[in-house]
């Protein structure tokens, strides 16, 4: 961008290079949703850690789950003339005006982990994210294979109306539509929390008992709660009841190693390196695709033990 073009930045190829102290530091504004889950905190930590490593001056703003506060943060980043903005949007809609301001000020905006719906996609530079629908599909496909496409499934949804909840359900149901013997018997919101996941699972157990063959949770926290509920009811999660979830946080690996969780689809929060690499590419004037997929993969009990050591979150 123009205000810093006279002071050329050291092109940093990877995570090793740091900007020389004499140069003007790169200033990046990062607007985060909040700290509602372990996954989210890991994402924040990753970006903050990477910034520190590279000597980037990171302005962090926690929106506490409110879009209005994110917009407020963005307008003030723009007013402070940062070099780039990283935005993890609370919701998909409603970004036109403020992104237009950023564009007018010539500040590149990198979206992370969730897209936005805008009338003109030149308003943001690129999106680095996982595909929630794909995660749902992966979970369902794995479950189909595991159960020979025959299962009574109980679903623990994320927060009602939230994008991951809607998309992970959507992707999952897409695959189910092709497998008539797999059906979701009951589906309730567990608000993405362990406590609610446990409570809802307890209710399922009391009403349907032995009928429960598989549990699909929209995140690991709820799955862990459900596992606890199953155990307390004297059932055997991981064996009598197949449990699969999304996120792949460390605790999920522990549960897999213990044989209680069957599989988890990764939704990788460690975006730091990729984000700053992308910013560097932008500043070098590279043309970027609109979507950079953050690679997701599915982990099951078999490979859990190997991976667990490398998990930081």
């Amino acid at each position: 961008s123009k205000q810093s073009s006279d002071k050329a930045e050291q092109p940093s190829g990877g995570s090793t290079a740091a900007a020389p102290a004499a140069e003007k530091k790169l200033v990046v504004g990062f607007s985060q949703v909040g700290a509602e889950s372990a996954w989210r905190t890991a994402e924040t930590k990753s970006i903050q850690g990477e910034a520190a490593k590279r000597g980037v001056d990171l302005k962090f703003a926690d929106a506490q789950g409110k879009q209005a506060q994110q917009i407020q943060a963005l307008t003030s980043f723009i007013a402070q003339k940062v070099d780039a903005i990283v935005l993890a949007p609370v919701v998909e809609t409603g970004w036109d005006a403020v992104l237009q301001q950023a564009k007018d000020a010539n500040i590149p905006v990198i979206l992370v982990d969730r897209g936005v719906k805008v009338s003109d996609d030149s308003l943001y530079t690129t999106l680095i994210a996982s595909d929630f629908v794909e995660e749902g599909r992966m979970a369902a496909e794995w479950l189909a294979k595991k159960t020979n496409a025959k299962a009574n499934i109980y679903e623990l949804q994320g927060t009602t109306g939230s994008a991951p909840a809607i998309d992970r359900k959507k992707g999952f149901e897409e695959i189910l539509a092709k497998n008539p013997d797999m059906k979701i018997v009951k589906s309730q919101s567990g608000d993405f929390t362990r406590a609610k996941g446990k409570e809802v699972m307890e209710a399922f157990i009391k009403s349907d008992g032995k009928n429960i063959q598989a549990v699909y949770a929209h995140n690991d926290d709820m799955a862990l709660g459900a596992i606890q509920a199953l155990e307390e009811a004297g059932m055997n999660p991981g064996k009598d009841v197949i449990v699969i979830s999304v996120d792949a946080v460390k605790a999920a690996f522990e549960a897999m190693v213990a044989g209680k969780l069957n599989a988890t689809v990764e939704c990788n929060p460690l975006m730091g390196p990729l984000v700053f690499d992308t910013i560097d590419r932008v500043r070098k004037g590279e043309k970027l695709p609109k979507f950079i997929q953050n690679k997701d993969q599915l982990f099951e009990q078999a490979n859990a033990a190997q991976v667990i050591g490398t998990r930081e979150y």
Binding site: K59, K66, A68, T93, G94, D96, I166
Partner: protein, 320 residues
């Protein structure tokens, strides 16, 4: 002096606000500029408009927990009407505001007819309206409509449309509170419902009207939200009721009813804006936890400062 005495809470609020503003301006570069100040207005316009309605409810001795839900509901409804049913912007807003006012009026009528506490009725209202909003449309909905966008980017002088709406609501609210019989009846109702009844004031209609007014403001805030975000959103209203109540009370309105002012509420809005902006964006806190602690601490500082100023200037009265 007499003027100062009469409006002591608001004046103390203004002084405390100016003090904190001065501190922030000294601390952060570029804080003391018109655009930043205008941002306070436009960024908090939605909350502010809701709070104006809430001011009347609290003045009347009631409370309305449904405002956040009504606000979200209205924004989603506007989105659905414009995007899925191709209504014109004004028709959509009109319909949403009519629905919001009606919901408010129903809650008011239930409160009056059954004698159930406003807290419960409006809490139930909150659940109900939120459920309703999900039923209309599960996800938040983006609005891309020429006329809508045209309004959204309208500016009058330096003021964006949302800021303008906020100022308009505050001015209108102030006028209604001070110069109309309805406004005075609201104060009387909050001062003593029993006495209002014995004095022959229209208690029933005032009560219903107060909640309808709150619904009106909340649903209009929903419209303002669509201008601000170009979308109808389920999430923005969550927890807003407490913010709105806090705004009103910080502005010097007594939760017990009968005492307070709409202008005070504007101070409350500006104050919250100042705190949030300075902490979440200028201070550059690195942890969410510290951000919350700082917000709380600043809020407390403001309220304490307000109290100290009041004691300084008037001394404490007979009442404890």
């Amino acid at each position: 002096m007499n003027f100062l005495r009469k409006h002591i809470t608001v004046m103390a609020g203004v002084v405390a606000y100016l003090l904190l503003y001065a501190i922030a301006a000294a601390r952060y570069d570029g804080f003391a500029s018109l655009p930043v100040f205008i941002n306070f207005l436009s960024n908090n316009a939605v909350l502010g408009i809701v709070a104006v309605g809430m001011t009347f409810v609290i003045l009347s001795g009631g409370i309305d927990l449904s405002v956040g839900a009504v606000m979200s509901f209205s924004s989603v409804l506007i989105g659905v009407l414009i995007m899925d049913h191709h209504w014109s912007v004004f028709a959509a807003i009109g319909a949403a505001v009519a629905c919001g006012s009606l919901l408010g009026a129903i809650m008011g009528a239930v409160i009056h007819r059954t004698g159930i506490k406003p807290f419960i009725v409006t809490l139930a209202g909150m659940f109900f309206v939120r459920g309703l909003a999900f039923i209309i449309h599960l996800e938040s909905i983006a609005i891309s409509d020429k006329a809508h966008t045209a309004i959204a980017i309208t500016r009058v002088g330096p003021l964006p449309i949302t800021a303008l709406l906020l100022l308009g609501f505050v001015a209108a609210g102030w006028f209604v509170a001070v110069f109309t019989p309805f406004g005075r009846n609201v104060y009387a109702l909050g001062g003593s419902e029993e006495a209002s009844l014995l004095m022959g004031l229209p208690v029933q209609s005032t009560k219903i009207a107060v909640y309808a007014l709150s619904g009106f403001c909340a649903s209009f805030a929903g419209a303002a939200l669509t201008f601000y975000l170009s979308s109808g959103s389920h999430l923005e209203g969550v927890g807003m009721e407490l913010d709105a109540i806090a705004t009103v009370v910080i502005g010097g309105t007594l939760l017990a009813g009968g005492v307070g002012s709409v202008f005070g509420t504007l101070i409350g809005v500006l104050m919250l804006g100042l705190i949030l902006t300075s902490i979440t964006t200028y201070e550059g806190m690195t942890s969410s936890g510290m951000t919350r602690v700082a917000i709380g601490a600043l809020l407390l500082m403001f309220v304490l400062l307000q109290k100290v100023l009041m004691r300084r200037f008037v001394g404490v009265g007979r009442a404890t």
